[in-house]
Symmetry: C2
Subunit: 259 residues, 2 copies
């Protein structure tokens, strides 16, 4: 399987603390050694850092931990391969453009008997994972329904994607993170949780490595930051555990839609 | 304007030497301080490193120079903004997926009165540069002509793109690099040159900083490596200068098509 990490914030925020915990699970405290990736949105732009090697050993992962990139939306993934070999093209997150936005997606889980369902033409996978194919199919279905122009209320798109995700979940395990750069969606099959941090901020202690952060010193009173992860990253805070079929939509750190 | 750099090789090769020269032009020996980017293909996968800050000061550019990523195709760009503000979404190279391949593109030049010509729907720009819009239009026209499946002979696509590039060149200056991961195309409007290095290899000396490399020690007798740049990067080798409307298509370091 794999592990997911994502962030939505109302001010550009660095994710060094959370990513430091996640990166340990890529070879030290967890078995997810088959690559890792992280996408940062900065305005409408985005950049993705990826490696097919374990995050705990990656030079690029070290850079991410030492050079804080401030972003309002982050999507990250560490991989333990099941479908598809270990290679850069099979490394999450995956990105495609739709309606002049970069859509970024990462998946934790495994699907079965999906080839017939996921018929695609406009968006085609580059690698050979079930994950990327499911992403292409989601976008294909979104275009089929909404056409070539973004609807005025983009939350309708996420409600539709949640229905599609229900269909995918029927084929196996489908924990998903999806973002258009403004919004961040988390869809749960069996393992996904989140925490929203806002004033008054306190200290947080990572589970996977000996790091404590005092958010009170790193933030202002107006900051709202939501972090989503496969499993809680800290052991002294209350994380919300999602249940099967549950999804949450965040914008600027705040919950704006859910089932 | 901007500067372009690209590489096509028959073995995974690092571009540290050439990129070291180019990065100097982003703030030290050249005025291209409005961002930079570099895309490495590894198999079908690709990864892009980008920054909206000058390449000569970028932490990420330093990583690229100290941590050799071996690749068979590289596309790079340093930016001096004309159309579109300085921001991550306006930083080249740009990438879109078509036919299950990542297509990567970078442009040097400036276009005028292009808005009417470049009508797009399937591929839409995320930023507001003439460059990204022209790229979206190119892909849109390619899909219009070839449909949703890659033709058996992909060089036909490049011949068609060259015709489209002629049309774009009529609107201004259009020096372009384009790759599907296997092939690398360079299209010249006014500033583009290339060099193909193969055995017997010799020494090369960068123009922009005091670095000499002995390729004989870095390569094997079978290596073939073509480097494309806006201006020659070395001062002791013979670069081929392209003329207006001329284009070259490379695969595995070798010239396979041209006008």
């Amino acid at each position: 399987m794999c592990e997911l990490l994502a962030m939505s914030a109302n001010v550009p925020t660095d994710i060094v603390f959370s990513f430091t915990g996640l990166a340990q699970r890529g070879g030290v405290t967890g078995p997810h050694v088959d690559g890792w990736g992280i996408t940062f949105y900065e305005g409408k732009g985005s950049r993705t850092f990826k490696d097919a090697c374990p995050s705990s050993e990656s030079q690029i992962a070290k850079l991410i931990q030492s050079f804080p990139i401030k972003s309002e939306v982050v999507v990250s993934h560490i991989r333990q391969a099941n479908r598809g070999c270990v290679s850069l093209e099979n490394t999450h997150p995956f990105t495609r453009e739709l309606w002049g936005r970069y859509w970024t997606y990462a998946h934790n889980g495994q699907l079965s008997e999906y080839q017939d369902k996921f018929s695609v033409s406009r968006y085609q996978p580059v690698g050979d994972t079930d994950s990327e194919l499911a992403f292409c199919w989601l976008l294909e279905k979104v275009v089929e329904k909404f056409g070539d122009n973004e609807p005025e209320d983009i939350t309708l798109v996420y409600h539709y994607i949640a229905k599609l995700a229900d269909e995918i979940r029927a084929l196996g395990v489908f924990n998903m993170i999806l973002s258009d750069g403004d919004h961040l969606m988390s869809y749960c099959s069996n393992n996904l949780c989140y925490i929203t941090r806002k004033a008054p901020f306190g200290k947080a202690r990572l589970i996977d490595t000996d790091v404590v952060i005092d958010f009170d010193k790193e933030t202002t009173a107006n900051d709202i930051v939501t972090v989503i992860a496969t499993r809680p990253l800290t052991n002294n805070e209350q994380w919300h555990i999602l249940s099967a079929g549950e999804w949450k939509l965040f914008c600027k750190g705040q919950l704006i839609g859910e089932l």
